[in-house]
Symmetry: C2
Subunit: 559 residues, 2 copies
């Protein structure tokens, strides 16, 4: 890494651009997925020599190879920085704290939990500690927060990754998170422009559509994005989402052009009309929402031409494609340099072009630091204030610690899904001295059979943990989970206390739940808060971040 | 079985009623699920002595114990008839031919295939051969046809079990099926009153709601039911479906009262206003759509009081409950006898009260009978005329037999689901000399990787087989199937030919499919017809029985 401040002073971005070869400039617009192939330092060095990049992405794979320890990850990233001629932006999906990416950092409850607290100060801290812990692990950029607005309860992207359905609340909380991040040396990224949450479909699986009218859009997503732009968000991620009022172009298959490929959406609307001057980074280019247009090489050039600065994980032929496009005049040098300038400006803002700061970023950190203590405390506070008592019609809650000594814990969770938070819930209950009987999914008649056999528990907890935001289209209790919904109603003597560990919308599938707690997040601090709330040791302070009043009985009705 | 015509002549139903004990009258209103517990003749005899019944239901379990052979099943049913003092109605879910219930009878394509043929004569035969083959196996009553109207594409009940979304077409085809059945010694059953297909939810899992206004309802479900009543349908099955315009009562949990419990819906609307004089048989009483009201015993009495004649699988205490209710005057003898009268009238219509007919029903049948030949021929004709070419924008179809020699068969089917029809498709292609490579679900990048490795096939078939109408809420490509939708779009060189073996609505999740064949039914004759149609040996004669023109992009949108 070049850190000589006389050669690259923070105020001489133009000199830096002029010193770059064409390939180096193109490389600035590339974000490399730092997967296991690059765990070997030599391989990475060789790769960067031929294919220089401006940024790297750390996803699950390399973090796994780092065994979840941020010290090891930081070491790898330091090597990557050394292997790169220019300092690298290091990005990750740190949507709910650095602990989402690195095991020894703090996991925060999902954004929907934060939204249930309705506390902007807490949102600022959420951003702050994500940044401070993220930087300790070597990150300087997070693709967060999700600022989408859940206008459609079937939308599979926003779910508990987002801040709910109210545009004003989303804007206020997202703005605070962004400031918390950016005040502490991080680049935030508002996603997914022009706003997810309208379509029932998933951008991973298809080009989705934000079908709001121009007027509606400005009131919802437009308003949110304008607000975070005005509050200085440094980067925005366009999604593979169409916005027909702004760009009505359709391919021969009738596919509407997604934002990632749309000059009207990215340049005319977002840059020129809304005044966004920061970095635009595409959502992943392998997603099905992107791949329906033209040939792969044509798509790549179109995406760049549309206004993106950083391409998320293009294949290696992107370099030669861009070189040829510049040569042939299909992409101008000015356009390329404009993107490089925005990327270098971001690096400058983050102190990456300044030797002293770059060094500081990799300074040793203490194991049990004050930052860590504060982050853990914040995670607990968000959890404590988020647990929402949606219904308590039978006054079953809170449970009485003296009388409720045995629990039937009926989990509704897809067979192949990670059940660690259900396990943690069981352990937490057992640690209180409760006798816990566990039952997973099963047959619709199971609980009724148990009752007929004379079995009884003091409390019957039914805990739903859906597989959401995993390209599963599964924001409702589908498959085995449907039988749990059946079974809990078929209980004769036991009254179910229903708990959701993610979706806020269980009442749309079962409007007749008498007792429902929305906990929003599979997260250790949430499990802890949930149990205390169930036993009356913590007030149910959360307020639903989505409207649950009107059951949308005609969902899917064709009129 | 008592078959002495002097004692029970067909014209002396009143004498028969008067000769019955109270318990025998109550028994007439009970339908017993003939599960494996009753495969032992002695057990059944002892049971019927204490708990006499009017009808039995043969579902999957006892048919399995009969090893799928109708001769063995008939033998068991003959024993049941002998064990019963009064002749039994024998019911089953023969929705798509007797082959749906008994392996050596003929399986017809699902009703949605029949609807794609738009041929009332064929619908009549569909009913006729279901009856003739069903009677050979010992049945005299089928809970079919489904006459619901698919007004909601997310509705999980109607799907390919129903006749589509057009009320006039549903009425015309359903009426023909019913006449075909009833002209040939069978009782048909129109289900599910007051009409499923409006809600996105499943009556198995929750009380669902037909939220049409009174005017809308008469145009849709009301019109269909009135039409089949006027054409003489002998039985109707109320579903656990509310109809707020007709009955606005709600339980303390806010649960709307389903038809199965509603006197306004069953007696005032269906009997008095619509003039239905036949037998009302409840949908299964264990379904969650039913179990939310009052205590189990209260519910049972309420369901009877509402107007039902036959209770589907009540537990044994139903007898003592009813005896006490009669004693206490909560149910009148007149009301009970009215139901018994309707049930005996049905038996009389079916010739069950007449010794000669009852004997004929169990007459030996030939292995390769004319009936069987006609049924097989009908199944093939329905299949041949139903295959629907929804899109052929790239003119990929029909395939050229000389040039298309290798096929990548990519199946989209839940891991645990029955894949026998995908296997059959592969075998049928191989039997034509094609080289078939199979790929199941997998990763979104799989096909793209194969292409990058230089692999190529002359045709790329993507075959969706969803798990629908199985209480799974899964009428869309959820779970692993989402990745297939992704993978097929990410193919670079191969153009997918998409085939659906059940749902007609794949274009709602993926509106940009260029090539789509809707085959509607996992059924041997459909697989055969599908392959011939793909290779141009059969015209694509099917017409979509549901409207696919307007993609409902705002499904789930909360406004």
């Amino acid at each position: 890494m070049i850190t000589d401040t006389t050669q690259h002073p923070a105020d001489s971005i133009e000199n830096l651009i002029q010193s770059m070869s064409l390939r180096e400039k193109i490389g600035q617009t590339v974000q490399l997925g730092l997967n296991s192939r690059f765990c070997n330092e030599e391989t990475l060095e060789r790769h960067l020599e031929e294919f220089p990049v401006g940024s790297v992405f750390c996803g699950g794979e390399i973090i796994t190879s780092a065994e979840g320890k941020s010290a090891a990850l930081r070491e790898k990233l330091a090597r990557a920085q050394r292997a790169s001629k220019y300092p690298l932006l290091v990005a990750g999906d740190l949507e709910s704290g650095a602990g989402q990416a690195v095991a020894d950092k703090t996991r925060f409850p999902m954004l929907l939990s934060l939204a249930a607290c309705r506390d902007e100060k807490m949102a600022y801290e959420y951003g702050k500690y994500t940044a401070l812990e993220g930087r300790e692990a070597g990150f300087n950029w997070t693709f967060a927060p999700v600022v989408d607005v859940q206008k459609n309860w079937l939308n599979p992207i926003v779910t508990n990754r987002g801040l709910g359905d109210d545009p004003q609340r989303v804007a206020a909380l997202a703005g605070a998170i962004i400031e918390g991040m950016q005040d502490h040396g991080f680049a935030a990224c508002a996603k997914h422009f022009p706003g997810d949450g309208v379509d029932f479909r998933d951008q991973h699986l298809i080009t989705s559509v934000n079908s709001l009218t121009e007027e509606e859009w400005w009131e919802v997503h437009g308003g949110v994005f304008q607000s975070v732009i005005d509050r200085g968000v440094r980067t925005i991620m366009p999604g593979h989402i169409a916005l027909p009022w702004c760009d009505s172009f359709r391919s021969s298959s009738g596919r509407p052009r997604p934002a990632t490929l749309s000059e009207p959406i990215l340049t005319q609307l977002l840059r020129e009309r809304m005044g966004f001057e920061g970095v635009l980074v595409t959502d992943a280019l392998i997603m099905a929402g992107f791949v329906g247009f033209a040939s792969r090489s044509e798509r790549l050039l179109q995406a760049f031409a549309a206004g993106n600065d950083v391409m998320l994980w293009p294949e290696n032929d992107y370099y030669s494609l861009m070189e040829r496009a510049i040569e042939e005049g299909r992409v101008s040098t000015e356009r390329l340099e404009a993107s490089v300038r925005r990327i270098l400006t971001l690096k400058q803002q983050l102190g990456l072009l300044d030797a002293a700061d770059a060094a500081e970023q990799f300074a040793p950190i203490e194991e049990d630091s004050e930052v860590r203590r504060q982050a853990v405390d914040l995670s607990a506070r968000v959890a404590d204030e988020s647990i929402t008592l949606v219904r308590n019609r039978e006054n079953l809650l809170p449970l009485n610690s003296d009388r409720a000594r045995s629990v039937l814990l009926h989990s509704a969770i897809p067979e192949q899904a990670d059940s660690r938070y259900i396990d943690l819930l069981a352990e937490t209950l057992e640690a209180r001295g409760l006798e816990v009987t566990r039952h997973k999914n099963g047959n619709c008649l199971d609980v009724n059979k148990m009752e007929q056999e004379g079995k009884h528990w003091d409390a019957y907890l039914v805990v739903y943990s859906l597989q959401i935001h995993q390209m599963k289209n599964a924001v409702r209790p589908v498959g085995e989970l449907g039988e749990v919904q059946w079974a809990q109603q078929y209980a004769e003597t036991m009254k179910p206390i229903t708990i959701s560990l993610n979706t806020a919308y269980l009442t749309f599938d079962n409007p007749y739940l008498d007792t429902l707690v929305n906990a929003y997040s599979p997260c250790p601090t949430v499990i802890d808060a949930l149990v205390r709330a169930l036993f009356g040791e913590l007030p149910f302070d959360g307020q639903s971040p989505v409207d649950l009043e009107t059951i949308p009985e005609r969902t899917g009705f064709l009129g």
